[in-house]
């Protein structure tokens, strides 16, 4: 532990493989169990448009768009801090972004 606030979190999930009805293994109390997951098609691809080129403004500028109680996803990395409105993400679901030099997908 030190003063560097933006450590990489560990990868806590293990790799799994699959198909339309896919099997995957999951740690589950006393050992690993194999489960099946169903992939349901609800909408055409890109019917909900993800954000590819996000634009950012300062917190002061954003006060015109967001009120204090609005929920945001707050993310920090390498000294850079960003906030993403969840109400806005409800209509976009994915933001492809870069924070502190690291490419990230912010999802909701």
């Amino acid at each position: 532990m030190g003063l560097d606030p933006d450590v990489d979190p560990p990868d806590l999930l293990s790799p799994k493989t699959g198909r339309r009805i896919i099997k995957f293994s999951q740690p589950d109390g006393d050992g690993t169990k194999e489960r099946t997951l169903e992939i349901h098609s609800i909408l055409p691809r890109d019917a909900i448009p993800a954000i590819a080129n996000p634009v950012f403004i300062t917190a002061e500028e954003a006060s015109h768009n967001l009120v204090d109680r609005d929920l945001v996803i707050g993310l920090s990395f390498n000294g850079e801090h960003k906030a993403y409105s969840t109400a806005f993400l409800s209509s976009r679901e994915v933001v492809n972004d870069v924070i502190g030099g690291k490419p990230v997908a912010v999802t909701w």
């Binding site: 532990m1 990868d11 740690p27 609800i42 768009n65 945001v72 997908a105």
Partner: protein
């Protein structure tokens, strides 16, 4: 390879499935892993983030940038959040320990998963706990409805925390240092400016958490 993600229009247990532009592989958001396509079996690194009120985040990170929404925003899911309905394709595991739409924070380890209900954390405030051998502090800010989880070992010493003078702060009983619950940064006392190591956790509705982790432990106060 750097990937760019879009929305596939598919769901796994009511949670987002993404599609990457480069290979069209399908990725489960909840699991952070590729489930179908060329990259099946690959995982994404998951970064710790916070789900907080805008004002709380701005207090903690005054120099934050904010995604431009291009104007005021109406959340199309407001009525969904308020309703008892869970998801759109039904649940695979009805777990009656909590109501489906209750909010939980969850941990995933090598051996299993554990969830803490927001309502129980609102009562507990701070919870000194262990998870798969790791000594953790689960900190809940009652006035903001925000949870954060940290490793509570500092310089080899396992600290024990209590509520601080304000709901957004906690004090360790060992040194009397005052800490921010949200950032894990000490804001006064012997360990001033030190920082607790964040533990990766997830915010979720209970119905989704218990679908993905059917044998999850649930904190019972």
């Amino acid at each position: 390879m750097e990937l760019t993600f879009g929305v596939s229009g598919k769901l796994i247990m009511n949670a987002l499935v993404m599609s990457d532009r480069q290979t069209e592989t399908l990725w489960s958001q909840f699991l952070g892993q590729a489930v179908e396509g060329e990259l099946a079996g690959e995982t994404l690194g998951i970064m710790a983030s916070q789900l907080v009120m805008c004002s709380t985040w701005k207090e903690e990170r005054p120099d934050t940038l904010v995604l431009d929404t291009g104007g005021g925003v109406y959340d199309q899911y407001n009525s969904y959040y308020a309703s008892p309905n869970s998801g759109v394709i039904g649940q695979s595991n009805y777990d009656e320990r909590l109501i489906g739409k209750q909010l939980v924070v969850g941990l995933v380890g090598d051996e299993g998963a554990r969830a803490y209900a927001h309502t129980d954390m609102a009562t507990a405030g701070v919870l000194n706990d262990t998870f798969e051998g790791l000594d953790i502090i689960v900190a809940f800010d009652r006035s903001k409805g925000t949870t954060a989880i940290f490793d509570r070992t500092v310089d080899g010493v396992v600290l024990t925390f209590s509520e601080g003078p304000e709901s957004r702060e906690m004090t360790d009983d060992d040194t009397g240092t005052l800490w921010s619950k949200l950032s894990g940064i000490a804001v006064g006392g012997p360990l001033d400016r030190r920082r607790l190591k964040p533990v990766l956790f997830f915010n979720s509705f209970w119905f989704a958490w218990s679908d993905f982790y059917p044998n999850t432990e649930l904190f019972e106060p």
